[in-house]
Subunit: 246 residues, 2 copies
Amino acid sequence: MSGDLVLYDVYSKLDPPQWSSNALRTRLALNFLQLPFDTVFLSYPDIEGHLSKLGLAPNSPPPYEARPRYTLPVIKDGDKFVSGSFEIALYLARTYAARGTRTALFPHNTVPLARLVADYLNDNVLSHARKIVLPRVPTWLDERGAAYFRTTRRKWLGVPLEEYYSGLSEQAKIRMDVLRGLDGISAMLRDHPEGPFLQGEECGYADLQILAVMAWIKQGDPDTWNTALESPEMRALWDAGKAWLA
Amino acid sequence: MSGDLVLYDVYSKLDPPQWSSNALRTRLALNFLQLPFDTVFLSYPDIEGHLSKLGLAPNSPPPYEARPRYTLPVIKDGDKFVSGSFEIALYLARTYAARGTRTALFPHNTVPLARLVADYLNDNVLSHARKIVLPRVPTWLDERGAAYFRTTRRKWLGVPLEEYYSGLSEQAKIRMDVLRGLDGISAMLRDHPEGPFLQGEECGYADLQILAVMAWIKQGDPDTWNTALESPEMRALWDAGKAWLA
């Protein structure tokens, strides 16, 4: 595919390489809107150098000792760069509606729905799932990326990633927390049983955010993912949207 | 007004008497849908006796030593009773859409939006505002209602209502928390600047829930309400919806 649009994503050795739940949100949005794009995969230690050379300003707030100056996803649309999955979604919705794209990323003015779903996922799903998934991330990365990930996360957490969450009984509790959060999503999907999406037959960015998180859990904790997919609503959403992950 | 619909609401000496944020949600929904209804105002100690005599089963889960068996709002629609503001909203949307009412309470399948806004309001606004508003509630009630309110809340909180939250500096912090929660609502309203509602020009139950909470804050903490209304988005929402509070 070739077009003016480029998605900067985090490199991994996986096939396909995409795994970051934030970058997956953008990938899903681009595919959902049927916008052709190229992907540039960057290993963690190369992100800052590559983006600063392109002229992009840091998109992460200081202080930079503890946090990276640049985070992905970033898109390049012609000469314009946009950072941050939600900001990118707003940009794509606005820009491509103006250029005549008919599919709405936020159908019937539902940006607030997408914002609240993002908060819901963060508070009720990601905050728990992270504890199981993050220690597994280095095994997916190239050697330099894995070393960078271990070093930075050790600095942020105060202990090695692998030691931060331990104990099988704790893992069982964490999985229960993740599934409880996803149950809330299934309940909302049941509100409009005529379709697989939160707004029924119409898919929007709120749904794409759920799909991105589910794909990340699928990679990082297949057991939890399998259990979650026993919900008929979650299964229907996944089946309806998984093609946009490609 | 007369019709088959009756709203059971909490009595007060205020003019107009309605003040409960939960019952206001139902009142707003009925008025928004242009459904004529009568109100029966019940003083707190009369709620259980009145509703059980009408044949309604308790709508609150046991144990009943600590919590009331019946909570308001309740509506009666012909022979049918429905309890709980969100359940009532779902019932009204389903029933009156089937009977040909054109106005949608959840426009474009946005029940999930309304659920998430309810959670947002509870976690970020009501949980804080309650600390300032609840001690003032007994002054609005009739003597028996006030005594009931003081006794039950003392039992639940472990100390008299008036002693539970004290100190001017704590109140200032609580007000800041309330305003921070409402700022999040204003930010969501800004997402669709073409209209005063969360979905732009279309009003739905998500907006009515905000209006009900705002009306309750107006009664219970006018200073905070005045400050909150300095947000142009909140002011526009209030002006667009306040007529449905009647």
